[in-house]
Amino acid sequence: MASKSKKIIALLMTAMMAATAMAGCTGGGDDEEGGASAAPVVQPSQQAMQKLSLDSEEDVTTIKNKMAEEAAANGGTITLRMWCASDDKQFETSLVDEFKTKFADSRYTFNITTVVKGEDQAGGKVVEAPTKAADVFSFADDQLSDLLQAGAIAKVSGVYAADIKESNSEDAIGVSSSGGELYAYPKTSDNGYFMYYDKTIFSDDDVKDMDTMIAKAQAAGKSVFFNLGDAWYNAGFFFTAGCTIKYENGKQTATFGTPEGLSAAKAMSHIAENVDKGFIGTPGTMGNNAFVSQGFAEGKLAAAVIGTWMGPDIKKSLGKDNVGAAKLPTVLMDGQQKQLDAFGGYKLVGVNVNSKCSFSAQTLAYYLTCEASQIKRYETRGLIPTNTKAAANDEIKSDPAFKAIADQKEGGHSHAQGQSVGAKYWGAGVDSVGSQIVTSKGTLPDSKLEELLKGAQQNAEEGS
């Protein structure tokens, strides 16, 4: 038998171990259902409030009164959490400060925190745990259907909806709505891609077709970059070829194993023949953004298919006056030049239906996306407004990126992501079809392409 002191030490050790293990468990004994306790109470909803405007003193008072009511129910404080992308945090926080000043009142205090959560994942996080998510969050438009299905997003306030519908582009309202009801506040209209190019190398006519661009770039000892190994970017080819890519009621359609799919793949192959000869079709392991940023900085790239988020970087590398932007060029498909399609998405602001201060949250979302805020957002962040009055601003109208997006939309060459692809599309291997074409430098035989496309269709449509 061990001596007594040894035993005591051993006991202490186990106790310490236990204590450290327990330290990980914070309390939190929310508890469990006890049967059918929650009888639904149906309240008659008050009908059609008048529309409130942030410009009118009188309306601001009405808003403040309503906010004071909410604050009173929550101990005198309006507590809101907001999610935004990390690049935007500083700017969005400044808007929040303006909001606080505008609606300051002696009856309540604000406690608004801004937390970093990218637009690409915000919707998913809200769906995962709606009650723990932010009150106000920015998200990419393709997440709206998931949010609606989860019942996590609130309708746009009745007092603001009319103004939002009036002042935003029809397209933006379309992706923010479902069944005729508006569910989100459109924020920016640039969640898509187009062609950024170096004006010293290409003329306005050069950027109209891909083959000319590649030839010119090669002559200048540089390259055109288009990430064919990414399902988001290479979808344009399939749209152009006439494939059906549709996401409806949780069901994905992607008709790649068809003659149209083959045309798209052959058009990619045609471009990929120029890999290392004026064309780069994959960023390798670097990721698009880093590759484009570095490519322009090192003078390796002459043009790249990318979105507005890289605008500031490219401008820094090329000099503001040398940056051109245009809609995607035409590509040689089935023997003729065809306009490439693209995904053109929006970033929206949503309000969590579980918010304790729901009207204050609605007002904040409204403020973040109003005309003045959208103009400021363009000025500081270079993000293109959805508000039609904001878009009429001279400086914005003359921005090449703005024009490129508008041109791309013309003639239905821009597709809304939410109605086209669901989450499982990205795991279906459509990107690997593109990257194999690039790796083989466009030498894959038609039979192999057909097999790859059929496999991709099967994965996308049947995958879990």
Partner: protein
Amino acid sequence: MDYLDYVQMTKGQRFAYKLKSFFTGIPGAIVKFFKAIGFFIKKFFLGIGHFFKNYGTRFAKGDIGTKLSYVIMGAGSIMHGQIVKGLILLATEVGYIFFMIGFGAKYIERICVSKITTLTWTPEVVNGTPYIVRGTNTVGKTVKQVVDDGFSQYVANEGKYDESNKVLLFFVLTMIVTLAFFIIYIANTKTAYNTQLLRAEGKKPIGFVDEMKTFLDDRFHITLLTLPIVLLIVFNILPILFTILMAFTNYDKAHDGQIRLYQWVGFQNFAEVFYADAKKSKTFGLVLVWTLIWAFFATFTNFIFGIILALLINKKDIKFKGFWRTMFVVTAAVPQFVTLLVMRLLLDDTGGFNAAFGTHMPFLSDANWARVTIIIVNMWVGIPYTMLISSGLLMNIPEDLYESARIDGANAVQQFTKITFPYIFFVLTPYLITTFVGNINNFNVIYFLTGGGPGDTINYSNAAGQTDLLVTWLYKLTADQKDYKLAAVIGILVFIVCAIGSLITFNMSKAAKNEEEFS
């Protein structure tokens, strides 16, 4: 071959003989392994038989107190003079009953009676107001009500609802508590019977204070190990059971357990992986085969080249041994993932290597290239370790073995094959086995080099790529695809592959007990 023949052999021949018998022993070891399993199962059922027999015997031979304690725990102890112990046992029973009523019963009901299968999700719209119905069950509809007062839409009344994860987790917890209670219950009948026997002999059963003292003396191990075991159960066993059960549900993105509850599907997921879903089973087969090929090459290339390197450095006429050794150890000193990420940048399509030589070699973007590249890069990462271990061993081989070999006229190759290699191989067998199993689960090398790619839509589905190991695929399934059911199945299968592989080989290496020969 009898003992005389054996002792007449030279040392080298003995090693050859042992090596031969090691490999001829493999089938025997496998048979032995399964026999052992059979024996274990037999013993287990016999044990259960004994258990019920004893349980019945105690009841039959028990006095009124012992019989009573089969229903009211502690009754026997109280009647036999162990008052405090009896009260504690009684309190345990009461506590368990309250636990079941207040907590456990509803989870058992959800799992066993409503079987979570009856819980489905239907979005409903009532008077233009969307209701979110979070599961209908035998207890009743529970809802979350959303209202709109014209200013904003908000949750007016949130009902309680089932969450699949919670139900399943608490079910497992309830079962563990029940098992623990059952053990205490049996101990209760035993102690009642034992005290009865003591009293029959005219002895006084041990008092409570004295019994407590035994926990600091005879039964100190119990005092010491109770807490660790409880922690082990809560933080290890419980999650493992929970994950295993997940493999029998349809828990995935479409059935997330919150909005749409998941349900039991039996062995459907396993069936899909093995045969029912043609593409999924093909994917699984290809990933499994590549996993084994990778583990084999990763283990043996490192092993063989590590030994060769150690031999080279250990050669008599090599100068600056310490320097060379340090040089190779430096590669191991750089964190593995840093090395791997640098390699990846270097070997990229547009990376350092291709840029420097103006080539376009698809090191990581063509499946077969990538597979070879991965194995070679892994050698860079792993050889120094084997070198270190085996140079330690090399220095330990008694010099007189080599001396006698030289006198017998053995050349360098013979010395290596008859002395050095058998020695290292036998000592390092357990290391080889652990490395092999470790390589089956070698996440870093694959994930940081290729991320599982390049993909191939013809033969692969569910986001698996051509260089994915089971474990990197599992990561993708959970982190990106949220296909938890499939991930749970893969996890179980990885466990089975590793467990069977290492059990058989470990058994074998023990069966060939040759190491003593060298002492």
